[in-house]
Amino acid sequence: MKKEIAITAYKCRKCGKIHYPYHDRCLECKGREFEQIKPEGDVTLLAYTAIFNLPWGFDQRYLILGVAEFENHVKAMGQIKVDSVDQLKAGMKMKPSWEPVRVQYGEDVYGLKFEPME
């Protein structure tokens, strides 16, 4: 079953700046009231890397990670479902999903994953 992307971003009620993650005051105008919004629309890959020295808690040999921007300007990090960075290019459209990204204390931790649209 496909899970909903459980990320909440915060839109400043005063100036409209979109924040993710949460800040207690707006980074632009220091406003304190935010509208909670969900990441929506097309997703564009901004930056990516493949890491081969993983931190404690990860069993695989490597991990491909990136930052992508949703159409409504929410930017977030996620794991990328490709075999190699050769399949990636900044600016390409990605399909987001909400899936287990690691296991902690025997439980799945869910997070963002991206995969190229094609």
């Binding site: 993650p21 890491i51 993983l54 931190p55 991990l63 990670l65 690691r102």
Partner: protein, 396 residues
């Protein structure tokens, strides 16, 4: 505000120091700095101890209290300063402000870290605890991973190439072979790590597009300085080194919330403040120690500090302009890349290396002739907390 000078500097060799505890390393470096300052049998008013991982890696807290006890510095004031990989420079800043204000006269600043006590797997996780606990850490991102993303963006925007990054690795590892305090004392062979078909095996991708030899090692080590008012320092025999300027700035926790993730605003601001306070321009600096945890950072910082225009730093490194005898010699200690990066020690070690340069105490192979001014950049998180110092030689 009083002018503040460095009168003692000491370091222990960085590397894998299985034989020493964290506290022993801190004590050895402190004693070297106290002896160098001629305070062998005297006390100090206060101690600022820089350390990031004592609580996590050694399961030991409040270590400044423990150190003053070991060193018989009681009842000196003592604080531990934790500011990630910028802890060292933060501790120096605390000491500087305390002496400048007139509150304390003599202050010991020591930084140390013992990272090889745990596996590389654990050490990588320890450093990754600096990342955002919800938006970054759960994904498995590491500091090299952040640097990898930054490198690709920086390459695309400012034309840095792998050849430029290689020039930094080659220079810094070569300088490491000349520095008895360096962790990595092996010169790199360009053929073996870049040109030959075996390079993919010898120098594999570590955090794409960064390769193994673009990254600093995981190290144990400690370094210390003693500071006091300049007027007191002038009565001593060694040339005092004036802390002529300092700056510190912060930036967003996550890279994604920066308008331009290739713009290291905190580096620009910290260095600008330090230079303005010292009334100097980047071109007035004789020698610099920059925070090259990754080769790309030496290039990016050399541009953000103002030594080179954006897009020129990589070319300058490849053309030898940052070597000894070049336009602005950078990381003649070997930098983090070769001296090593025991996180809490680094910011202090950078200043120790500049003190030695400004006292003209180094062997010819590493000494900038007649060096008068030095600059440091200590880079915390991924550029979210950065400190810079400008140091100046004062004739005794």
């Amino acid at each position: 505000m009083r002018d503040v000078a460095i009168i003692g500097a000491g370091m222990i060799p960085f590397g894998r120091r299985d034989e020493d505890t964290l506290m022993e390393m801190l004590a050895y470096a402190s004693l070297k700095a106290l002896d160098d300052a001629g305070l062998g049998d005297k006390s100090v008013d206060a101690v600022y101890l820089a350390n990031m991982g004592g609580g996590m890696l050694q399961h030991q807290s409040a270590i400044a209290s423990s150190l003053v006890d070991r060193l018989s510095l009681l009842p000196a004031a003592a604080d531990t300063v934790e500011n990630g990989p910028a802890s060292g420079a933060s501790a120096i800043k605390n000491g500087l402000l305390a002496v400048a204000s007139g509150y304390y006269d003599t202050v010991l600043v020591v930084g140390g870290e013992k990272m090889r006590e745990v596996t590389g797997w654990r050490a990588t996780d320890f450093v990754a605890t600096m990342t955002h606990p919800q938006a970054e850490y759960p994904y498995g991102i590491t500091l090299p991973g952040m640097a990898g993303m930054f490198t690709r963006l920086y390459m695309e925007k400012h034309g840095v190439t792998r050849e430029h990054l290689l020039a930094v690795s080659l220079k810094n590892q070569e300088m490491g072979t000349l520095n008895p305090y360096a962790h990595v004392e092996m010169a790199l062979d360009r053929e073996g790590v870049f040109d030959s078909p075996h390079a993919v095996v010898n120098n594999p991708v570590s955090a794409d597009p960064l390769h193994l030899y673009d990254l600093c090692p995981v190290s144990d080590g400690a370094a210390a300085i003693v500071i006091c008012p300049l007027e007191m320092a002038k009565k001593l025999s060694k040339p005092p080194v004036l802390i002529a300027g300092f700056g510190q700035a912060t930036d967003t926790h996550t890279l994604q919330e920066r308008d331009d993730p290739t713009d290291l605003k905190a580096v620009t601001l910290a260095a600008k403040q330090a230079l303005e306070m010292a009334k100097l321009k980047p071109s007035d600096i004789s020698v610099a120690e920059l925070h090259d945890a990754f080769t790309i950072l030496e290039i990016a910082e050399s541009e953000h500090v103002g030594f080179f225009k954006k897009g020129e730093g990589g070319k300058a490194a490849a053309a030898g302009k940052t070597r000894l005898g070049g336009q602005i010699p950078i990381n003649l200690s070997g930098g983090l890349k070769a001296r090593g990066h025991p996180v809490g020690a680094t910011g202090v070690a950078q200043v120790v290396d500049i003190v030695w340069q400004l006292r003209h105490e180094l062997p010819k192979t590493r000494q900038v002739k007649n060096a008068q001014t030095g600059l440091t950049v200590n880079f915390g998180g991924f550029g979210n907390n950065v400190l810079s110092f400008v140091l100046k030689r004062v004739e005794p």
